[in-house]
């Protein structure tokens, strides 16, 4: 526990810095857009109503979805500008997060400003005109100053929202305090989750407090207090920029990881090996499952581990099942031709979709394989967020007649809890997960071969697909990690007692690989 805390503390400068930079940028951009827009909207009902309506609708889109939507949007835009002007930009990370958060910041600012401007005393506006102000002078000298307190209240609301929602930018590849939360949720490291929440809340409160002081100073006309609040904000932002200056953004090569333990461990192993070969390495973790390949193709990341069945279904959109070796061969040539991505090889284990039951329950119901499930129509199946919309499930459902089965979805880590507690009778699981053995779950056979193979494969992006030194430093991993070894490594991170961090586990795994495959 203490160790988790120390680890979290060590990551704070980087995470907090990136979080502050992103949140503050989005807020500044939000204010810069909303204030002129609000002025126009307040003066013209024809513009005001649709603009406010649109911004309100945007607000109803869940934060994670809005952030996720900006990634493919920017990707398409980037390829368009590349074709038209030869300019492409990074569609992952900062930019999509910035745009989505800016949209979020807009509603409270815009709505408060429009309400304030429309609510001004007509007698005061008449007086402004009467003393000889032009419309512009009336706006700057009278209307905006009088609307300022409400505008500031809107900015404060936006600040609290944006600082909170910034944590959701982690899955689209932008480091933030959300990294604590997403990583913590995956590794059941509640210290991390709590640390992330507290840090984000504290940041929101500090920013809100400084803005409140600025607002009070503004309405009291107190220059010293206003200066103090301004100084506080500047110091905070400057402090946030420091880690970026100390570690200049020598991006080096970027290792990607999806959002689960195995991926964190393997990314650490790859990063270590590349460092030993003299590369400067950074990591982008917690990428969405399908975001990862696009990020690799776009060179936002340079290498990561994916799974053959996932690529086959999600990227190639294939539903046929040609067999393990043929699938790998076709994947390899498709990846090279389509994306310039090198499939270096299989690591030696499979992380397949399987279905698991409590052993006592399986025995009681005489269930050994998926074929036995249909006889028990009242069973409840638990799945992760994607399984029921994946082709694998459709194939299983058709092959074994499970289409009408009752379903529930869980955050992956809670699946095991659900099956152990009886909330679900059987659950989807991953074959390399160490917890299958730990909880003594029975894996149901797949006699009809409805589930494809999921060999862990090492992928390298276009920039290094022909980089000998890069490829050679990773190649020793090919075929070096058998299933039991990976399960053991995963369990070290997942278990509740004697829990290890992914970094520690990676070191352990490397030692085991070196021991098994002396070079």
């Amino acid at each position: 526990m203490n160790q988790s805390f120390q680890e979290a503390w060590a990551l704070l400068p980087d995470y907090l810095s990136q979080h502050v930079i992103l949140s503050v940028s989005a807020l500044i951009l939000g204010v810069a857009i909303s204030v002129p827009l609000g002025i126009v909207a307040a003066r013209s009902k024809g513009i005001g109503a649709p603009v406010l309506g649109l911004v309100s609708v945007i607000q109803t889109i869940p934060g994670l979805a809005l952030l996720a939507l900006f990634y493919p949007l920017l990707l398409a835009l980037s390829s368009l500008t590349r074709d038209l002007f030869g300019i492409s930009f990074r569609a992952l990370g900062f930019l999509p997060a910035l745009l989505a958060l800016t949209l979020y910041a807009m509603l409270p600012i815009l709505r408060n400003l429009v309400t304030a401007l429309n609510g001004l005393d007509p007698a005061i506006l008449m007086a402004a005109k009467g003393v000889g102000m032009t419309p512009r002078q009336s706006l700057y000298k009278v209307e905006l100053p009088l609307a300022a307190p409400q505008l500031l209240a809107g900015i404060r609301t936006a600040t609290v929202w944006v600082v909170g929602i910034t944590t959701l930018s982690t899955p689209i590849g932008q480091t933030s305090l959300g990294n604590y939360i997403f990583t913590g949720l995956q590794t059941e490291n509640w210290i991390f989750v709590l640390f992330g929440c507290v840090a984000a809340a504290a940041l929101a409160m500090v920013l809100d407090f400084l803005l409140a002081v600025a607002g009070a100073a503004l309405s009291a006309g107190s220059r010293p207090r206003l200066a103090l609040a301004g100084m506080g904000l500047i110091v905070l932002i400057a402090a946030a920029l420091v880690p970026g200056l100390i570690h200049p953004s020598a991006r080096g090569v970027v290792i990607g990881a999806k959002n689960f333990d195995e991926q964190y461990i393997l990314a650490d192993v790859m990063a270590d090996r590349l460092r030993q070969s003299g590369f400067a390495v950074s990591q982008k973790i917690d990428l969405g499952s399908t975001v990862a390949l696009r990020a690799l193709a776009a060179s936002d990341i340079d290498a990561y581990v994916d799974y053959s069945g996932t690529l086959w279904g999600d990227a190639m959109h294939r539903t046929d099942m040609p067999g393990r070796q043929a699938m790998l061969a076709q994947l390899k040539s498709w990846l090279a031709q389509r994306h310039g991505v090198a499939l270096v090889g299989s690591l030696g284990f499979e992380n397949a979709y399987v279905f698991a039951m409590r052993t006592d329950r399986a025995k009681a119901l005489h269930i050994q394989s998926l074929a036995d499930i249909a006889a028990h129509p009242d069973l409840m199946i638990g799945g992760d967020f994607e399984i029921f919309s994946r082709p694998e499930w459709r194939r299983v459902a058709v092959a074994y007649g499970l289409s009408t089965m009752r379903r529930r979805q869980y955050q992956p880590d809670f699946l095991y809890r659900a099956v152990m507690s009886g909330d679900a009778d059987l659950v989807s699981a991953f074959s390399s997960d160490g917890r299958i053995a730990r909880y003594g779950l029975t894996i149901l056979d797949d006699p009809k071969g409805a589930l494809p193979p999921y060999d862990a494969v090492l992928l390298v992006g276009p920039a290094h697909a022909h980089d000998k030194r890069f490829l050679e430093s990773l190649r020793p991993l090919v075929g070096a990690i058998p299933l039991p070894l990976m399960q053991q490594a995963n369990l070290m991170v997942d278990r509740d007692q004697d829990k290890r961090t992914p970094g520690q586990t990676a070191a352990w795994l490397e030692a085991r690989i070196a021991q098994d495959h002396p070079q």
Binding site: A123, I124, M126, A127, K129, G130, V131, G132, M133, T134
Partner: protein
Amino acid sequence: MGFHKNLPDPLIEIRDVSKAYGGSGKEGVSGLTLTIRQGEFLVLIGPSGSGKTTTLNMINRLVEPDRGTIWIEGRNVAETDPVQLRRGIGYVFQEAGLFPHMTVAENIAVTPRLLGWDEARIQARIEELLTLVQLDSGAFHERRPQRLSGGQRQRVALARALAVRPHILLLDEPFGALDPVTREAVAADVRDIQQSLGLTTMMVTHDMTEALLLADRIAVMREGTLVQTGTARELVNHPADSFVAQLIETPRRRAQALAKTLAL
């Protein structure tokens, strides 16, 4: 502002001016003709909705007439720049219309700043005006309007209206919100200042007592038209119709009732 020299007489001339508001409860004006001489204090009186404020607001183009012309010092106001026109005319609004986010000094300095006066001149003028409206600079200079009494607000509004030494002063029910004692004191001061500065003044009110006390000449309006103009004596002696007679009777009736009560 070239209209400050060789002032002709009349100073403000309203010729056959009309303004209609479609349907709403706003006060329209139809075919109004009225002249105000230099240095004259003219009070425009009538019940609410009779078009008094609309008439006043057409003089500095806060309201544009549908028909007719208004001349100030020989110039057609429709051909002047409305912003420049307003800066050259003092205006005291109903319930003062002070800017709540500005101090007393800042309120007074609004028009001088718009005209780009230098700061020393502005500061000197603020002191001069605070003295003129009998407010102590030390106590009021930095005060915000919400910390002023009604009478103090009207004094500041008057100072603001006079800041750039206009020749014309427009007052829209300036004493309406004041208690009777304050009203009398402020009204008396307004009259003194008006006379000492020789301001051509047009004031809107619905209170005949106020009109009788302040006005050189009274113009009575009803439903957007001018019913009668004349001095207080002319109106009392020769009311144009029963409406004017009734209007002029009100203060007299009150005075008689009061005398009767006191005599008891």
